[in-house]
């Protein structure tokens, strides 16, 4: 029994020696960034990615490192990744907008009906986790109030008002939550990483080039075949791109 314990502790110390703790890697990468060694900083952040899922701060910092190296495609990719986790973070928004100004493809998005625009803005205002927690809190509150209504004859006068208000807020947030979960699980988006990317009419390198996309362009993935993805642009253009040329969000 003691022998096993010794072995385990030895193994644990060996692992900790071989792989640096993620926090210290993060610190080291930040220091590299501060001393303007952006390529090394990027490599360090990439190392964190290999450890597993990382927080939006890592993606954001990766985006910054790539931006400083003028790898705008990768910068957009990482900012978008960060934005998925923290849609309300203003820094990510700012840097993403700035990076977009450097992109070659200014894809004209067909203008939405203005209500739709606000709808989308509202839908993406909170992160999925925030929405989930809000929904669960409201849900519990709602049930509590129903119980009160059921068992107590004598209730404060504003009780009903509060109940209707909570029902309304709950309905809205539950809708947003369900819509977001649905979109996340069905809609797959990607960013063009390479400088210039020929979009083919068929999943075949010899096929005709339908159009050209430059780094940083956002596309929606419709289907996949072997080494190829069928993509769709916001403005409706469809074509095939090699898997290696895009980064899945």
């Amino acid at each position: 029994m003691i022998r096993i314990f010794v072995w385990l502790s030895l193994a644990a110390s060996a692992i900790s020696q071989v792989s640096e703790a993620p926090e210290s890697v993060f610190e080291r990468a930040g220091e590299l960034y501060r001393t303007k060694r952006y390529a090394e900083a990027e490599a360090a952040y990439q190392e964190l990615l290999s450890h597993g899922n990382v927080s939006y701060e890592v993606y954001y910092n990766l985006g910054n490192s790539c931006f400083k190296q003028k790898k705008y495609g990768y910068a957009v990719f990482f900012y978008e990744k960060a934005l998925r986790q923290a849609p309300g973070d203003e820094d990510i928004f700012f840097n993403l907008e700035l990076t977009r100004a450097h992109l070659k493809d200014q894809i004209i998005i067909p203008p939405d009906f203005f209500l739709f625009h606000y709808y989308r803005l509202a839908l993406y205002f909170f992160s999925i986790d925030t929405l989930a927690i809000a929904v669960i809190v409201l849900w519990n509150l709602l049930l509590l109030m129903l119980l009160i209504k059921l068992f107590f004859q004598h209730r404060p006068r504003l009780f009903n008002f509060a109940l209707y208000g909570i029902v309304l807020i709950f309905t809205l947030s539950a809708y947003a939550f369900v819509a977001r979960v649905y979109i996340d699980s069905t809609k797959e988006e990607a960013i063009i990483l390479n400088g210039v990317c020929d979009i083919k009419s068929e999943p075949d390198p010899a096929a005709a080039t339908v159009f050209i996309l430059h780094e940083g362009a956002k596309v929606e993935i419709r289907s996949a075949a072997d080494e190829w993805f069928e993509i769709r642009l916001v403005d409706g253009k469809v074509g095939w791109v090699r898997r290696g040329d895009v980064g899945i969000l």
Binding site: V54, S55, E57, N64, N95, L98, K104, L143
Partner: protein, 597 residues
């Protein structure tokens, strides 16, 4: 009107713009084919930026040539070009060819500022005097002059070069000429060759007669379409000097016709013949698709000014097509840069060289482009295809391709390709990195996939459902009791009334009134499903009114209750008649109430 002077007594050689510090020393003769007995000029010219010739150049011993005057004519010229002085000094020796044959003038030594220079040797040919020329009758008449246009080829391909020369053939001195009608060349691209000044005479023998031939116009023409093309005749006006005929034989040798100042001057017009050239279409067999009409021999050279560059930096791609033939027919190559480059219109320039009898030259196309994206870019090679009239085949030459390595330049230099608005944005920088992270590594999935989320969702729901069901069950239970009470209300009232009747008859009035009052309230309470204890009269009345009971009945009921209360709590209870009537009244009210509810 252009007037050309044919013969110079003294040749002035103007110093050409000289470059470099060296001294040049040259010997030239005015012509290399000379008839025996004719005089000619030998010029020795020293040129450079520091000409200081001491004495006269030493003329070596000459064979077959004699020096006419020991002292040469001298001339000096000074030129200042761009602030630099250049001088030239020349000496003219007058010589006479005395014997036929090929003779060489050996190198002539010249001393300039203490250094000895040598000229190149010159070979001249002295031809024998024409036999007929000696016959006085044939010597020098107007019939001895004619004018002709000569084409080097009678048959040519479209685009193939043909030389056309207009010549004056003459056996008498021509002092002046002027063209009165210049032919044009419809269907040709014509390039005029410059003439060497002064115009040199060539000795040609036509039909056994020796003529001096003066080429006054040389053209290279390139037919632009097939068919039988013709060049219209040209016309010139010549001033001829016809020597006097009856001269003594002795003087003939002495006064050569060319130096005779006493000839009779005649002006006459001459017309050349029409030149016809048959122009053939180029063979269609093996014609390359990109053939642009080049005929001759060509080659191509392509260069880029740099192969490593950054975005926003200009690159120059140069295509140089050179060779012999109709170089001007080259079409501009396709722009080799694609949409990722900022392109500028092609710049082309050409240079036509006329050497000897051929037109050669080069055409240069320059493409300037500024890359916008970083990548490896390959400029494909350029192929020039042409028809070679010698081999009668289409041939081509290709240049290798070039690979450009384009790196990302700094954003500021690429400003030219960005709009103003974008530049304004770029001037700003991104925000700084996040220095700390709350949870660096996310070990769990999103909140909604965690167990406690599901628990908090379904748990309270379950609890609520349970609570609701329980509440419902309770209500059901209560409702059942009420129903039972309602059903039992009338029998209970009858029972109580019977009880009360017995008490009344037994004169137990206290208990009687209590029983009657219980009957009254108990019935209403059971009927309405409310607890009997603590039932207030006011509440009862309002509840009865809710049930829409007749006001009269309610009034009776209240009166009965009050009667009971009065009887129970007052001392006036010993009136039996009253008890009987009260009982009757209460009985009736209870009966009516039972009916109404």
């Amino acid at each position: 009107m252009k007037t050309y002077s044919f013969f110079f007594i003294i040749n002035f050689y103007f110093a050409a713009a000289l470059s470099g510090q060296t001294i040049r020393c040259e010997a030239t003769v005015d012509r290399t084919t000379i008839e025996a007995g004719e005089t000619f000029t030998l010029s020795v010219e020293v040129s450079g930026d520091d000409v200081d010739v001491r004495g006269i150049p030493e003329l070596p011993a000459l064979k077959g040539i004699e020096l006419l005057y020991p002292n040469p004519g001298e001339s000096t010229s000074i030129q200042i070009i761009n602030g630099r002085k250049s001088e030239s000094k020349s000496f003219q020796f007058f010589l006479r060819a005395s014997q036929t044959g090929r003779w060489t003038i050996p190198p002539i030594k010249v001393h300039n500022a203490g250094t000895e220079y040598q000229t190149q040797p010159i070979t001249i040919e002295v031809v024998g005097k024409n036999s007929s020329g000696n016959a006085g009758s044939a010597f020098g008449s107007e019939a001895d002059v004619f004018f002709a246009g000569v084409a080097s080829k009678k048959e040519a391909y479209v685009g193939e070069q043909v030389m056309v020369e207009f010549r004056i053939y003459s056996r008498v001195p021509v002092t002046q000429y002027s063209p009165t009608k210049v032919p044009n060349f419809p269907g040709f691209w014509a390039e005029e060759f410059p003439l060497k000044e002064p115009i040199q005479a060539e000795r040609v023998t036509i039909n056994g007669k020796t003529y001096s031939s003066y080429t006054i116009k040389r053209m290279a023409v390139f037919p632009t379409h097939s068919g039988s093309l013709k060049i219209e005749p040209a016309e010139i006006e010549c001033e001829l000097r016809i020597p006097r005929k009856n001269r003594g034989g002795l003087f003939d040798d002495f006064f050569t016709p060319f130096n005779d100042p006493f000839g009779e001057v005649v002006t006459k017009k001459f017309l050349s013949d029409t030149i016809r050239i048959r122009v053939n279409e180029l063979p269609s067999q093996g014609k390359p698709s990109d053939f642009s009409g080049l005929v001759g021999t060509f080659d191509v050279k392509t260069t880029v000014d740099k192969t490593q560059l950054k975005t926003g930096e200009a690159v120059l791609y140069r295509v140089e097509i050179y060779g012999v033939g109709n170089i001007k027919s080259v079409d501009a190559p396709e722009n080799p840069f694609n949409e990722e480059f900022e392109k500028y219109p092609v710049k082309s320039s050409d240079e036509i060289l006329k050497n000897g009898n051929v037109v050669s030259g080069k055409k240069i196309f320059e493409f300037v482009a500024i890359p916008r994206t970083s990548r490896m870019y390959e400029i494909p090679g350029y192929t020039v295809s042409y028809f070679n009239p010698e081999t009668k085949k289409y041939e081509f030459q290709s240049s290798p391709s070039h690979t450009l390595t384009i790196e990302q330049g700094s954003g500021m230099t690429a400003g030219g390709s960005l709009s103003k608005e974008e530049v304004a944005l770029i001037a700003k920088d991104i925000r700084f990195i996040k220095t700390s992270a709350e949870n660096l590594m996310i070990t769990r999935g999103p909140v909604y996939t965690r167990w406690w989320f599901i628990l908090l969702w379904l748990g309270p729901l379950g609890l609520t459902v349970v609570a609701f069901v329980y509440q419902r069950y309770q209500a059901q239970q209560n409702a059942d009791i009420v129903k039972l009470k309602y059903r039992k209300a009338s029998p209970m009232a009858k029972k109580r009334l019977n009880q009360a009747e017995k008490l009344m008859k037994a004169q137990k009035l206290d208990t009687f009134y209590t029983e009657v009052a219980k009957t009254l309230t108990g019935l209403i309470a059971d009927k309405l499903g409310i607890p009997e204890a603590g039932l207030m009269t006011d509440t009862l009345v309002s509840m009865l009114r809710e049930k829409k009971i007749d006001e009269q009945l309610i009034g009776d009921y209240i009166t009965c209750l009050q009667l009971c209360d009065q009887a129970r709590f007052s001392f006036d209870r010993n009136v039996p008649e009253k008890v009987e009537s009260v009982y009757e009244r209460i009985r009736e009210t209870i009966f009516n109430m039972d009916k109404a509810l």
